[in-house]
């Protein structure tokens, strides 16, 4: 990340950190899994296709001639949209990163969130979808950004590797 960030904006800071996650975990020997994002994109683009078909039918054949098809398309649009909304809200939740360890194939999911006007980045780790391995930590964002607003990726890398060690210790207990 070579762009300075307005460190007073909690949303911008957390967004920058979110975007830094893939490269950090690449260095930590993880491969990113895109299953969630891909599913979301599939549902999303099928919504777009449904609307495009409806638009073209209307333009080419005229409203009165295609009413039953349009009813089907509008129903499909409503169903897909609610599916999309459900997926975003309950399946994806606030998951920003999912990856697998390259050797052990351990799966890690990371949820992140921020609160307005607080220099904090709330991170939740879940290993292999096990509730027992859940770890909630808070990162003081002032520690990983310098005065000019540049993200210090090495500091962030160190912080994440520490957290991963804590999780693996926790599991051994």
């Amino acid at each position: 990340m070579s762009k300075p960030v307005n460190v007073y904006s909690a949303s911008e800071v957390s967004k920058t950190l979110d975007e830094a996650l893939p490269s950090i975990f690449e260095r930590l020997n993880y491969t990113e899994s895109f299953k969630l994002t891909d599913t979301k994109l599939y549902i999303g683009y099928s919504i777009v296709v449904v609307s495009a078909v409806s638009f073209l039918l209307d333009k080419q054949l005229g409203h009165r001639n295609v009413i039953p098809y349009q009813q089907g398309l509008v129903a499909a649009y409503i169903i897909l949209s609610s599916l999309f909304w459900y997926f975003k809200k309950y399946v994806e939740k606030s998951i920003t990163y999912v990856g697998n360890e390259k050797k052990t194939d351990d799966k890690i999911s990371i949820c992140t969130r921020y609160e307005e006007c607080e220099p904090k980045y709330f991170v939740t780790f879940v290993k292999n979808d096990e509730e027992s391995s859940k770890l909630e930590v808070v990162l003081e964002t002032t520690k990983v950004f310098n005065e000019a607003g540049y993200l210090q990726t090495d500091l962030l890398y160190n912080w994440f590797s520490e957290q991963l060690k804590i999780i693996s210790l926790k599991k051994k207990e």
Partner: protein
């Protein structure tokens, strides 16, 4: 370059158009008409409706009453006309749903016979009527007239939309 991130951004842009269009389509099906919302283009119903006023149409009624304000389209012409029903004639038997209407603009001196095509002297409710006016919003539709009639306005609007979608990513 993260292709998934770009696709997600594009998806957001598509959603804006898709949701707007599907809302319109849903409204069309609900009101059973191909244009559930129309903008008044002529002054023939003044002072009730002026250019740029927005009208909401409903077309699930099988018959119109005298006094209803209807929107009709002549065959082969895409210009919707908003006028009031002056006369109606419908069949006594319930099975036949045919209704004939004569219309006139409140601000016009004579009825619409000279506007009808093919030497018709009546409109058919089933074939010619786009919808019956149920609701009214003043002047808001003037934006669409302005955009469709002035090319500068069109370019300004397009430029504004383009800029905002570019800046929207930040």
């Amino acid at each position: 370059m993260n292709i998934r991130l770009e696709l997600a951004k594009l998806l957001n842009l598509c959603f804006v158009f898709a949701s707007a269009y599907m809302f319109w389509q849903g409204l069309s099906l609900f009101a059973n008409t191909d244009s559930p919302i129309v903008v008044v283009l002529s002054g023939s119903m003044e002072p009730a409706f002026q250019r740029g006023d927005v009208l909401f149409l409903w077309n699930r009624n099988t018959q119109n009453k005298v006094g209803d304000i209807v929107v009709y389209e002549n065959e082969g012409q895409d210009i919707p006309i908003v006028h009031r029903v002056l006369r109606e004639h419908h069949s006594k038997s319930e099975s036949q749903n045919k209704q004939f209407l004569l219309t006139k603009g409140d601000n016009n001196a004579v009825n619409d016979i000279s506007l009808y095509k093919n030497k018709k002297i009546y409109l058919s409710k089933e074939k010619d009527i786009v919808g019956t006016v149920k609701g009214y919003l003043p002047q808001i539709g003037y934006v669409t007239i302005w955009v469709s009639e002035s090319k500068y306005a069109k370019y300004t609007l397009l430029a504004f939309l383009g800029l905002s979608s570019l800046l929207g990513g930040e």
